[in-house]
């Protein structure tokens, strides 16, 4: 009997072509797997089984077959027409968008099967998936630990073999950090590489959609489909999309790799540091040159991020007011003439948003408010310039940068929930890529003694995802971390 564990896109496309398996069999396998493990992992917020079976027949007719019959799970903040899309928030309870996000259209046109909606921190506000209105997702490697966030459901579903691949979104590390904590591959593309149309906005100058997959090849196959200009997102860039699978070659001779010294200061877990050190030695053995470089403004990135991201979020989330869609408070006076619209707004938002969303809206409104705008928001925009320049300088000295994705492996459920600042600091290595707009990938590079995955982050110049794929693929071909699976 054919085993479908650790099913990848590339292997599955081969099997389909040889008629070694049918789409029905793959879907049955995944549903069975979900029946076995989902009650423990809780990666999905919605899974419309009849809808998924219907798609098997619908997508037989499409001409583009790049992802034909490949199940892809979608993070719950990406609009799928007619399917619940709630950002794992009460305020979007019952919302089924009347249109598809561009990335969803592209996946459908390439033959993919949309395979459920993945859990996330409410509105992508979090690094642990614990702020979801639907309850937390659990790390498949150890159910007492968080899967990371905000795309924790996407990463956990891929790691637990409940799906083949997934889409996440990344504003400050929300693809890469959960990918690292769940032992899978996650890519945040360059800002502007992938259309954000239909991604429910958190921070518009930072958000990007990207793939979460079981290996580097699968990541390239998904990026090939979702990348590209879209006239409905004027920040998407009109640049030709290369075939990223062409970068999947083992030769990294002559590549110059920088290690930013600020990413290895005290605070980093020793096991994480050791795993990155081993990766560095491997790259040198394969003929790359590794040099130490400096990103001097690194220590300010988290502060800059929590000003800019909350400012943008407070403005983006103003649209959730109970008028056009989603939740509206039921706690108004029975006599209509006693109610005002402001009461309705304020009570709807009180009841509809969770504590982290409220905290960020209030912080964002504060840093934008009169009297504080210059001291906080404008200052943060200027320091953002300094952080961008750090990277521009670094990429004059090297082709790629490598760092840990996260200072530690997964932390325990509940450990950081009551201390927002310590949660924010867990994004310290991922945030800068969003502030600078550059592409960055996390891929598995080790396990701690407790059996929790460790992530290696690779960063490149804007629109140079190809170099990331080149280095990541060479790493993967010479290690077997991507083949390790949790025992869930």
């Amino acid at each position: 009997m054919l085993t479908l564990d650790n099913l990848r896109i590339r292997a599955l496309l081969d099997l389909y072509q040889k008629k070694g398996i049918t789409r029905e069999e793959v879907i049955d396998y995944l549903f069975n797997r979900i029946d076995r493990v989902e009650s423990q992992v809780k990666a999905f917020v919605y899974l419309n089984r009849e809808g998924i079976r219907r798609q098997i027949n619908e997508n037989c007719i499409c001409e583009d077959v790049r992802l034909k019959g490949i199940p892809v799970t979608i993070k719950d903040n990406i609009c799928v027409k007619g399917e619940l899309t709630t950002c794992s928030s009460k305020i979007l309870e019952g919302f089924s968008p009347p249109y598809n996000a561009t990335v969803v259209e592209k996946l459908k046109n390439a033959g993919a099967i949309l395979f459920g909606k993945a859990n996330m921190d409410e509105f992508a506000f979090g690094s642990s998936c614990e702020t979801s209105h639907c309850g937390p997702t659990y790390n498949p490697w150890n159910l007492k630990y968080v899967p990371g966030g905000s795309s924790g459901g996407s990463a956990a579903a891929v790691a637990a073999d409940e799906t083949v691949a997934a889409l996440g979104s990344d504003t400050g590390g929300s693809i890469r950090q959960p990918a690292a904590l769940c032992g899978v591959v996650g890519l945040k593309p360059t800002y502007g590489r992938v259309s954000r149309y239909g991604l429910i906005a958190f921070a518009s100058s930072l958000d990007q959609i990207g793939p979460i997959t079981k290996d580097v090849s699968d990541c390239a196959l998904i990026l090939n489909v979702i990348a590209g200009h879209d006239e409905r997102d004027s920040t998407s860039v009109n640049l030709a999309v290369p075939d990223y699978t062409k970068s999947l070659m083992q030769d990294i001779k002559g590549l110059k790799i920088g290690m930013p010294r600020e990413y290895f200061l005290p605070g980093i877990d020793l096991e994480v540091k050791k795993a990155i050190g081993k990766a560095t030695t491997l790259f040198q053995d394969l003929g790359a040159k590794v040099v130490e470089i400096s990103l001097p403004h690194t220590e300010y990135a988290v502060a800059v991020y929590y000003i800019i991201a909350t400012a943008e979020a407070s403005s983006n989330l103003a649209r959730f007011d109970g008028v056009q869609y989603g939740y509206r408070t039921k706690n108004l006076d029975n006599a209509e003439e006693n109610n005002t619209i402001v009461q309705m707004y304020s009570r709807t938002r009180r009841e509809g948003f969770g504590p982290e969303a409220k905290r960020r809206i209030i912080l964002g409104t504060y840093v934008l408010s009169s009297g504080y705008y210059d001291a906080y928001y404008l200052r943060a925009l200027k320091v953002r310039t300094l952080i961008r320049k750090d990277f521009e300088q670094a990429f004059k000295e090297c082709d790629l940068l490598i760092t840990p994705t996260s200072p530690t492996a997964a932390f325990k459920i509940g450990e950081k929930l009551e201390n927002p600042l310590s949660m924010y600091l867990s994004d310290v290595y991922t945030i800068s890529a969003n502030l600078a707009g550059i592409p960055a990938m996390s891929l598995p590079c080790g396990l701690t003694q407790d059996g929790l995955p460790i992530g290696l982050q690779i960063l490149a110049k804007p629109f140079d995802e190809e170099s990331i794929f080149r280095l990541a693929y060479a790493y993967e071909q010479n290690t077997n971390w991507h083949l390790q699976k949790p025992n869930v």
Binding site: S96, Y191, A303, K382, T385, G437
Partner: protein
């Protein structure tokens, strides 16, 4: 620059979020710690540095003003909690 209970009440009002007195004091103490951390940006000299509102060299995007199909009105209205004819219905706006 410590944040006060009064400021949090005012900002919550601007943000259109009702908060209980317990929530106001809870958020005040948390925001105070977060702002204290954020204040480390004051260490840096930023004179003469241009602000970055984004990362791409963006230009205005113009297009022809053509009529294209929009979303179906009934489908969009079906998402609202309260509606009347072709309108969203809300409590009174003017006292």
């Amino acid at each position: 620059m410590a944040i006060t209970v009064k400021e949090v009440e005012y900002i919550a009002k601007l943000s259109r979020i009702e908060l209980s007195p317990e929530e106001v004091s809870y958020f005040t103490s948390q925001l105070d710690k977060i702002l204290d951390y954020i204040n480390k940006l004051e260490e840096l000299s930023i004179s003469g540095i241009e602000p970055s509102t984004g990362v791409l060299p963006l230009k205005n995007v113009l297009r022809e003003d053509e009529i294209k199909p929009s979303l179906d009105i009934q489908q969009v209205l079906s998402l609202a909690v309260s509606k009347e004819e072709n309108h969203f219905k809300v409590p009174k706006v003017i006292e």
